[in-house]
Symmetry: C2
Subunit: 186 residues, 2 copies
Amino acid sequence: MKTANDKKATVLSSRYLEHKPWLTVREDKIQLANGVIIPEYFVLEYPDWVNVLAITKDKKFLLVRQYRHGTGTTNYELCGGCVDKEDASPLVAAQRELLEETGFGKGTWRFNLKMSANPSTSNNWTYNFIAEGVEQVGKQHLDGGEDISFELLSLDEIKTLLKNNEIIQSVHACALWKYLAENHLL
Amino acid sequence: MKTANDKKATVLSSRYLEHKPWLTVREDKIQLANGVIIPEYFVLEYPDWVNVLAITKDKKFLLVRQYRHGTGTTNYELCGGCVDKEDASPLVAAQRELLEETGFGKGTWRFNLKMSANPSTSNNWTYNFIAEGVEQVGKQHLDGGEDISFELLSLDEIKTLLKNNEIIQSVHACALWKYLAENHLL
């Protein structure tokens, strides 16, 4: 097995095509390790993202429902969002997002996964945390552009959603499948 | 549990900002179900993607290594690519990609997962297949812009990579964690 970045490309030039609040596109001219030059390689720049596999004291899984306009679908998801500049760490961002979107907090938190939704097109990372023993400590506080509801689901309901391919966000599904695998829950 | 698309937004207007071979950006003005209008919602349009969890007759996992310029990293990945217009189905595309990138074919194939790398920003789907009993049937045939090597890894090596967070592509890691969970391999 290899672990080094053995095929790293060289950036020959770089410019921004778009630099809007929700759309930053960089166009790089790169040379691959094998010598091939790709004149227009587009990279989407985003802040890092976070999400949390939150479980209550009575073993319910806290999921949110949100319409996603890329796929045009409303699905069950883990609670999550962007790491803001004010957030001291991804963990703090995840705790803030959980509190804002659901009013839940406290519990015991641990890092679970650092992933890329798309390492080919996107420059950011998504951090997943597991929070066990969370409880309702306040009310939901949504931004104007958010329409999010939340539900507490049983382990059996989570398994049904996963088996029916209804948790379609790959980062979220990955965290849940990993949890089932590591805890021998299938 | 709900399954309906209960928060679907309405598209009020739509135009393309970019329409290049590897970058198509649509700008929609949408109205959420709660009435809020988002004047600039950017959707990245892509063809569907496919990848395959390929396992040889002697239970080795066939992984590829490829530099990904978004994250600037070279990682182990499942073999995969885009569904071309000429591909009769996602399955056919996955079989074509496996043959092109590794020279492996045959085996018993089945659908495993349909996921979105990012349902918020992207309009496409990624299909994952499991192919068991694949064997080398030809040589690798790469496009000019591809620099891909492949390796056969043991189950223990796969588990080590997953536990060390070295398979960072969320769709790929999800398929592997699901495989470990369903086959009770942890």
